[in-house]
Subunit: 423 residues, 2 copies
């Protein structure tokens, strides 16, 4: 293994080892050049052992299990009064790309996962409409559909980083209440238009068929312009844990709005002021006032590799990568720092930065055993810049932690261990 | 339920009930208009029963099972001499959108699914190179990666429609050896450039670590320009059935080239003429000659809803939808016929028609109990038009069935049943 400290440092783009993409591209500039360069991460002898495997298992009807035993959701938390109320997080540090497989999409349930019969389930549209209507699953399957890759983030995501002490946790353990999928469903305006929305209607109250009757108020403009009744996730019918047979999906907004097991849409001239928008999901500030309906999730990013609890086993070049997203639109750019925010380099965006979807960012980094603090900072299409942790918390009342989007800092120690810090 | 035969037919775009997208959009033109129109697929009373569910199951570490027992791969075929050699198909008719969940991606194994230890597994790059190299999994994880949504299609997909009689099968049973995923991995040129490709090299022989030692010859230009070593599928590390820990991925080419459990890449000045490119995966024509290396999969589409073995339960408007793809680039347009190819209407493309990725097409159709033959026809960015079944088979020797891309015909009978026919 050749160490990369032997290489020239002329292609650094920011402090403490951040490299330009050219670092790799120059090495791969052509076969003539490549023939005389030093191998990077490969070994220079070839393994001649015929260690080929014996014959293996036959095809199966649904998947095989994931290839790594460690590949599972984490931070499963349940309510002390009943295991049905709880959450589980996507293990962001084990994933790459932008899609979250359905089996690893985060979960947040208020009364557990109900088993709903798709034949008897019905969705009603009523309230301030010309004509109340009921739609069954079979009818919805015949409406025009759309497919969109979207992020979904719980309003309480990242709250662990609002606590006084920095927890030694993974990227998923701290920020895993965000996931992404290709959602397919019926644009909501088809149903609302068919029912005939009254001119006085301003809000749509969405209610689920779980025992909690989880309900939220959605502004009519969002419901008409961007929401859908999702029936498929990453190609297949929704999992029960994601709202089978149907859920509301309000792109870019706190996950709580995307009501699962959707049974009722009631149009009103004002919000319903439900439990989930009065005692919960509000932002209490230091002046004692609480902001309601902070619906759009703000510009945010997190480096998922390296991640807390990981150890860099060898010195040399690493690709730093992570996810960035914003409920205000698309991600314009992501900057990365290896020196705790003193200098920044622009990362490459590796997937289409479409509206309301998470993008993967990547940048090469040379680690030669030096201590480092890695950070990422998202800038969205509306010009919003992800704030530092201190700035994000400056006006927040103690103990309130919704909508937190402060910058994550990973400290890399001389022995290669990576840890969550407040920097 | 109001029947749609009551509606005017002024927005038909092709024969036998094909409607323009305006059909839906006009209905949803505004709340004033909507208030006076007839409901489409909804019921006009609302269900007042408080049939809400009791509290349900808590969060889980990996997925929950799919919500429908029928959601599984089909057409599992295994070799009579050993169950390890076989295939299973994606149930296209149960899915929507474009992503195939990992648990439903098609499988094709030549010696079963090996269990490979990612710590001891190595990939060697050798042959006509300046310096043979070995890469382990840990090293590859540190290289620059890319994420691309790509289709993967088995060369033998759709061969059942080359048989003399039309089988009564579903879309997946006939065409389910195509799937799509967001693949993430290392562009192959990084590894080849590092090894230093000799000027005399023209082919890369890729070999798997399965007991079959499955191997194929890949033209060097494809290997340098478009191939990757895939490490992640839809976000998570590859499943064992998809090549864990690493597979070759050659976008747009027959799936057999994307060698799973990749262990060796050997550069040669000619193809290796392996079993899989001499006795198999060749195209024998009526003149007794066989074409080798028909690597790029051709322009193709299939209507997945309605599908064979389905029954239209109610008259009225349906959304016809399906998938289209081409290994020559992207899909330019998809046309749909409801009268067996006499008239065609252009369908809406519902996902980004990027290179080497499958797109979802959609078009509304009014079914009033009349017999119909539904077809779709893809046109790719290179101008190739998907041929009729007869035309696609015109020059093919009996019994040879690779690379078949003839148009699929679904016959809808007066009782609503849908069946595969040759039309």
């Amino acid at each position: 293994m050749h160490q990369l400290e032997d290489e020239p440092h002329g292609d650094d783009t920011a402090g403490n080892g951040l490299l330009s993409r050219r670092h790799w591209l120059q090495l791969g500039a052509g076969t003539a050049a490549a023939a005389v360069m030093t191998p990077l991460l490969a070994q220079e002898s070839i393994d001649q052992e015929p260690w080929r495997s014996g014959s293996g298992a036959p095809p199966s009807v649904y998947g095989d299990r994931p290839s790594m035993a460690s590949l599972q959701r984490e931070q499963i938390s349940v309510h002390p009064m009943g295991r049905q109320a709880g959450a589980s997080s996507t293990p962001l540090q084990l994933l790459n790309g932008t899609i979250t497989p359905n089996g690893l999409h985060f979960e947040r349930h208020h009364s557990g996962i109900p088993e709903i019969d798709p034949v008897s389930h019905k969705l009603t549209v009523h309230g301030l409409v010309a004509r109340p209507l009921t739609f069954d699953y079979d009818a919805l399957l015949r409406y025009p559909m759309q497919s969109r890759v979207l992020f979904l983030e719980c309003s309480g995501n990242s709250y662990r980083n609002t606590l006084a002490g920095a927890l030694d946790e993974t990227a998923g353990g701290l920020h895993g209440l965000i996931s992404s999928a290709e959602w397919t469903g019926v644009p909501l305006h088809f149903l609302l238009d068919e029912a005939g929305v009254d001119a006085s209607a301003q809000w749509v109250i969405a209610e689920g068929a779980d025992a909690a009757g989880m309900n939220r108020s959605v502004p009519l403009s969002l419901a008409l312009n961007d929401a859908m009744i999702a029936l498929y996730q990453n190609g297949e019918p929704l999992r029960r844990s994601q709202g089978f047979p149907m859920r509301l999906l309000v792109p870019g907004c706190e996950g709580n709005l995307s009501v699962k097991w959707l049974r009722s849409l009631k149009l009103l001239d004002q919000p319903a002021q439900t439990r989930e928008e009065t005692s919960k999901y509000t932002d209490l500030t230091l002046d004692g006032k609480a902001a309601q309906f902070s619906l759009r999730m703000q510009a945010k990013s997190v480096i998922t590799s390296p991640s807390g609890k990981m150890r860099l086993g060898r010195q040399g070049v690493y690709e730093i990568s992570g996810l960035a997203w914003s409920g205000n639109g698309s991600i314009r750019r992501v900057e990365v720092s290896a020196d705790g925010g003193r200098s920044w380099a622009e990362a490459m965006l590796q997937s289409e930065p479409g509206p309301m979807r998470a993008v993967r960012f990547r940048i090469p980094w040379r680690w030669q055993g030096q201590p480092a603090v890695l950070q990422s900072r998202a800038v969205d299409s509306a010009g919003n810049v992800q704030p530092t942790r201190a700035s994000a918390l400056a006006n927040v009342a103690p103990g309130f932690s919704y909508h937190f989007n402060g910058i994550q800092s990973w400290q890399v120690n001389a022995n290669g261990s990576v840890r969550n810090v407040y920097a």
